[in-house]
Amino acid sequence: MAFLELRNVVKSFGRNEVVRGLSLSVEKGEFVSFLGGSGCGKTTTLRMIAGFEAPTEGSIFVEGAELSRVPPNRRRLGMVFQNYALFPNMTARRNIAFGLRVEGKKGPEVERRVDEMLELIGLGEFGERYPHQLSGGQQQRVALARALAPGPRALLLDEPLSALDAKIRVRLRDDIRAIQRELGITTIYVTHDQEEALSISDRVAVMRDGLIEQIGAPFEIYDRPATPYVAGFIGTLNLLQATALDPEEGSLLVEGQVVRVGRRLEARPGEARSLRLRPEALSLGGPGSNRLAAKLVNVKLHGAIVRLVARVGGQEVLVDCFNDRSLELPGIGADLSLTFAPESCAVERP
């Protein structure tokens, strides 16, 4: 059995079924993110693991033991909240020491551990400050140290960075990942920010309507989305309307131009399909046997990436290129030849 396991977990609030038979296995030391839109049940699932909500059906196991009769304060799971939830009447030190004191630890042992934790989060000098004397980022660091101090079995974080501004968010998320690796602690991280989830997780669970739509390594989720929803939710996606031409040899027509996907299609000739293409799978005359004639409509610079907005017949297509010296952009309105590999596109029913 995995270190942490959810089996067919259901949660209803009145008639509203919010989590609908969710199963999940997390290995020891793994960093798993729950990613999904607002209201898909991420927080509810996390709170059931923490013990703040009881599952309506199903069970949750940690280290092989079923948790339904274990109250939250006996689960030994550290929790980090979106709004920090530091104790306002205690200094950073005493916040961090709280869990240790509850365990009955005393004196030098506590102090040593608190020093260690302050060091870990890089706030050595801030121990005597009260929460209101710390910035949001510092408060969340203290909250992280507080959760980690008693040595919990796993760490649960509910959108810990969403109240912080962009720069600090990136710094702190890298720090969280580094600390998690150093301690080897099993971690579940809730976020609605796909970049965050993809950049720090071992595995990402994309959630929708109270279920996990796909779970896998970040590359897997991004490169091989299992469902149209995941494909659309993660990253940017071009959806081109097409009609099947010769399903046996895997060809379609897009605005009168032939595209080959290199595999058999489940369609009758002339049937409508959508073609799914990542902007970075398209290039201006790069490798790839497919070619689409297009017109350049707009150019947007995103730092290292240049995003071209092109038009294939009546449909808009986004193309991402690296912003390097060799890139020679034609003028707006110029004709383009977009190339892409057959295996880079997916076909689905519209």
């Binding site: 923490a50 939250p72 304060n73 909240f81 709004n83 104790f87």
Partner: protein, 254 residues
């Protein structure tokens, strides 16, 4: 717009001044009156008489004691209830709010007769116990204690703090004494303040339940003497405030 501001500011100062005058003029008048115990001169003679009466310290001490018991009982009853309602039964909040209005709607005299009727014969012949008086006082001060605690709970992230403490292993006692109560301090102090102010001067319950409390003593003095009651009023005022300041100082040190 820019002209309106100083005018509005001036108005708010005027209203504040009126409020303060309304509050302090009677106090000042009472104080001045209390100093006229000796003909033709201002003196503290009346205060001397008050202190010379052993009944004064006895009744005042009794009422302070009752106030302390009321605060302890009231807080012990209301604080956990309010926390419970906040965390587990938010739907019950309007019911509690309605209950807090009861002591205003039902006059103390009805409360007193109710207590007498219920507790003066077996199986509940407890009317001579001070616990009944304290229970009555708890009812009277309930709205004030509840409002103060409610404001305190509202101003903190009760659910967040509770869950944070629980995830760190804390049970209910730790949660209550180490997390919630320290963050409720201001609210608890104002509950205490209000309860003392109400209980020390309370008349109806004390008279009807026949206790030697300060309220009835003051009323009695007022009937028989002129300057001493004024001195008494000033003294009780000062002593109540003094007691509160003392408790606040003790609370601060802790």
């Amino acid at each position: 717009m820019s002209d309106a501001k100083p005018i509005r500011k001036a108005f708010s100062w005027i209203w504040l001044a009126i409020g303060l005058l309304y509050f302090f003029i009677p106090l000042l008048a009472t104080f001045l009156f209390s100093l006229r115990g000796k003909k033709g001169a201002l003196s503290f003679v009346a205060y001397g008489h008050v202190f010379a009466d052993p009944q004064f310290l006895k009744t005042f001490g009794f009422s302070l004691g009752m106030a302390a018991c009321t605060v302890v009982a009231g807080l012990a009853l209301i604080v956990p209830t309010a926390i419970w309602v906040y965390l587990k039964l938010p739907k019950a909040k309007p019911v509690i709010e309605l209950l807090t209005l009861m002591p205003f709607v039902i006059p103390p005299i009805i409360l007193a007769f109710g207590l007498i009727r219920t507790y003066s014969r077996p199986p509940f012949a407890w009317i001579s116990s001070p616990a009944i008086l304290v229970a009555g006082y708890v009812v009277i001060s309930f709205p004030y204690i509840y409002k103060a605690v409610d404001a305190g709970l509202r101003s903190m992230d009760l659910r967040g703090l509770t869950e944070a403490a629980q995830s760190l292993g804390a049970g209910w006692p730790t949660l209550l004494f180490k997390v919630i109560l320290p963050n409720l301090r201001t609210a608890l102090l104002s509950a205490l303040f209000l309860t003392f102010a109400i209980v020390v001067g309370e008349l109806t319950l004390a008279v009807l339940l026949a206790w030697p409390a300060f309220g009835p003593y003051m009323a009695l003095m007022g009937r028989n003497l002129a300057y001493e009651p004024a001195a008494l009023a000033i003294l009780s005022f000062g002593l109540t405030w003094g007691a509160i300041a003392l408790m606040q100082a003790l609370g601060e040190k802790h």
